[in-house]
Symmetry: C2
Subunit: 506 residues, 2 copies
């Protein structure tokens, strides 16, 4: 039987509070060069435009690029995989201001790149050329939490962690948790249909977002907010803005149905000798933990080693080929512990789980989760990170890591995989000291072809953004892509909103 | 302490296997007359058209109206509130056939009314004029159930109860349950974003439907099927077909994520003296039953009396002003019983619950649920049923029943309310011996104005259909309605698909 052990071995780590301060080496090459993109047919920004924007939001909220590279943190993504060349950052403070900005840009045909916490992995929140960056950071008000229904309404620039803290005070949890929570905005989460650690329990955002307010490219404000779980009055338009990555509208407000906060949470960190054992343990977790299972993550040895080496962390258990993190959340600690202990006993008796530790103290749980959340930043510290976020059938879930290791291992520092096993969502990672076109070509389209052959998704939760536009057709039919173009043309005929992203309209 | 009692007092009742055989008095007036609707600018069906359809699907699957009134069951809804005048019913057997039919109709500008189980409450599945009825009943194949993930793929004409039975065999449940399950089609459920009894536990269909295949009005087939929970490749187009009531496309296949079947299910039927006690009991159920709460229904005395009088049923407990049905589903019977008993003890100690019975035997549970599911058909037996499906804030959830009773009680046989309290979704019902314009005018737009003033939804789960088109604006802004029109024009420029429904395009 496993027992809760102290986790003092795990050094306390703190994710960079603002991701843009995290930097490996120098700046990445400009995206327009590295990825050979032609500039869209947009107007060039002039002083008159800036004067107009200043009249709307004030000079203090209008930041121009200059010799001080004031916009560098907004032009480059956290992962240093893309770099734009925007000359202007706007920080509006209200929906109305955004409406006026978009109306103006639409008339002038000035391109816009909406930006939340800039934590995206596919270059969706960073300009490619000189798009005006529209930061949502000042729209950070929580508008209300209903203490009976758990429905929270807030502006889109609220940081996920801050929202969750307020919602927890009222006895609920935001049904979304991910590594970037200390920086990412809820509006960005919704615009990208972010997944994360709790999808297995609470489902995706299309289920839990009850309403949005969005500003359309022509400046019109679309109020689709709702205080109710059930509202079947007409087309469910809000879904157009969930996961369309800021290409159809700018999300300004959201209403989310938050489930009750669990009285009792437990987290087990397990060591396993094979991926077969991982699969068996997953099946048993689903069966024996049932309604209290709230997370089921898989980490391979190489991924954890990166955290140990690059972030000076220690694993809470000895070294094994595979690790699992299994979380339970329930309303009765005694019942939950009994279920968890029975499950752990079973998996150990079967020989699937060979080592492990579990804990129920919130601070310890948080510490242990940091180990999972630090994996991607730890890998990025190797130099350059090529990361792929794919959905795959369980039976062949881990095969791709071995296939890619065989293919590019000789050129790579690490080839590894971790991810949301409970959602069949793998994060495949390859690191090198620096970006090389050779590695890029060896990986793409290979990874997407491989995934597509297994009928998987070439972007499980990260989206298409800028980096995957050419692989959209690996997961979507021609008819579907055509309809996407039709929708884009309908809502944004001048294509001013987040160009070069999702669809190749340029 | 409450104990499980035998439920032999409840006579075994069986819902009509095919709803259209259920009939109160004569046929309702033609919708075009009763609701004063002008025919859209569509072509008239001719023999050449019929010959074409016969060449596609065979004469045996093509049914023409005649002196035998062969189409009567398809022209009239279950509730006898609408009646169309279609002259032709088509029963295609495949997506390809539907594609060819729609392509032809689009070119000929022939209007189409897609029909599933014809169990809708707002006249969405029945023609208004002479639309060709497109029955999905022959698309009834279950294509596969993944025994690990619980993802089921099937054609859209599968009856919900049949789908659930197959899914249960594999150890899962369809995350949707409603009174009409023995007749309604899963495709109709998805087209109307059906709610029902389990939304409190499993959320809405936008969360659990992973993929759809739909035929567009121009005949193009849009394959948006998916085997994965996470797929962020491009716009989430499937939501255009969930809840758009067959006005944007005909759903032909679906993929649904089904949660594991619970090992242990318990149902409590409780008697309460006031709506305040109902509210307190709801709050306590959420708090103390937590993750095992799978249903929380409210029934008032008059509603239950209708079931007793019109369906010869007996209540399992004595008469009280209010009843609640609280269901739990979990993976451990002992744990669940302990939680349920603690909760019941608490509510009785507080004096909120004054009587009750609970059971855990599947057959008994099924019998008890029938009492809830028979309420609307029982009320319809009074003669004519005016039914309203609204979302309201908890604090004023039941007020509208009293307000309406005061307003029209003198003209009504019954004024009563029941519904999905856990989702803040009330079904307000008024019955009379027969339809009268006077009652109709006394109720509409009053009920919708009242709901709108409380910022509720004028259609929580039933949709807009034909009967509520003029009240869409009570819950949707002008901008939202305009965008709905834009989408309709984009996908169905000839407006051939389910005209006179959802949007007033005629």
């Amino acid at each position: 039987m496993l027992h809760c052990r102290t986790l003092s071995k795990i050094h306390k780590t703190i994710l960079p509070p603002i991701l843009r301060t995290f930097s490996s080496a120098g700046l990445p090459e400009l995206s327009q060069v590295r990825y050979n993109v032609k500039r869209g047919n947009y107007s060039e920004l002039n002083d008159k435009d800036v004067t107009f924007f200043e009249s709307i939001i004030g000079a203090a909220n209008t930041l121009r690029d200059g010799p001080d590279n004031a916009l560098q943190g907004y032009n480059v993504d956290f992962w240093h995989s893309v770099r734009g060349n925007s000359k202007l950052l706007l920080k509006p403070g209200s929906t109305q201001e955004i409406s006026e900005i978009l109306k103006y840009c639409n008339q002038r045909r000035l391109a816009i790149c909406p930006q939340g916490g800039n934590t995206g992995v596919v270059g969706g929140a960073v300009p490619v050329y000189d798009e005006i960056i529209l930061s949502l950071g000042r729209l950070n008000k929580i508008l209300g939490i209903d203490d009976i229904t758990g429905i929270v309404a807030c502006e889109s620039g609220v940081i996920l962690e801050n929202l969750d803290a307020k919602v927890q005070e009222a006895g609920f949890v935001v049904p979304l948790d991910l590594g970037a929570k200390s920086s990412c905005h809820i509006g960005g989460n919704i615009s990208t249909n972010a997944g994360g650690l709790r999808v297995i329990r609470y489902g995706n955002l299309h289920g839990s977002v009850l309403g949005v307010e969005a500003v359309l490219p022509n400046g019109k404000i679309l109020d689709l907010m709702s205080d109710f779980k059930k509202d079947n009055t007409g087309y469910h338009l809000k879904h157009l803005f969930i996961g369309s990555e800021g290409t159809l509208g700018v999300v300004t407000k959201v209403a989310i149905l938050c489930p009750p906060r669990s009285e009792s949470v437990h987290l087990a960190f397990l060591g396993l000798k094979s991926f077969d054992a991982v699969m068996q343990t997953f099946k048993n977790a689903k069966r024996h933990l049932g309604e209290i299972l709230s997370s089921c993550e898989m980490i391979d040895e190489i991924s954890l080693t990166a955290a140990v080496e690059n972030m000076k962390l220690k694993s809470p258990i000895d070294t094994y080929p595979f690790y699992m993190m299994i979380e339970t959340s329930g309303s009765n600690a005694e019942h939950d512990m009994e279920k968890l202990n029975n499950f752990l006993q079973l998996t150990m008796d079967k020989g699937d789980v060979v080592d492990g530790t579990c804990c129920g103290e919130p601070s310890k749980i948080q510490e242990m989760w940091k180990l999972r959340e630090i994996l991607a930043p730890a890998l990025a510290k190797d130099g350059h990170l090529y990361t792929y976020d794919i959905s795959l059938p369980l039976r062949s879930f881990y095969d791709i890591v071995k296939v890619v290791e065989k293919r590019v291992g000789h050129m790579a520092k690490r080839v590894c995989g971790f991810g949301h096993l409970g959602d069949l969502n793998l994060h495949l990672n390859i690191t090198t000291e620096e970006y090389t076109a050779e590695m890029y070509k060896a990986l793409e389209p290979f990874v997407f072809d491989y995934t597509s052959q297994l009928k998987g998704s070439v972007s499980a939760e990260h989206g298409i953004g800028f980096l995957k536009t050419q692989y959209l057709k690996h997961s979507k039919s021609t008819e579907a892509v055509n309809m996407m173009h039709d929708l884009k043309n309908l809502l944004d005929p001048n294509a001013i909103l987040n160009p070069y992203k999702v669809l190749r309209t340029y």
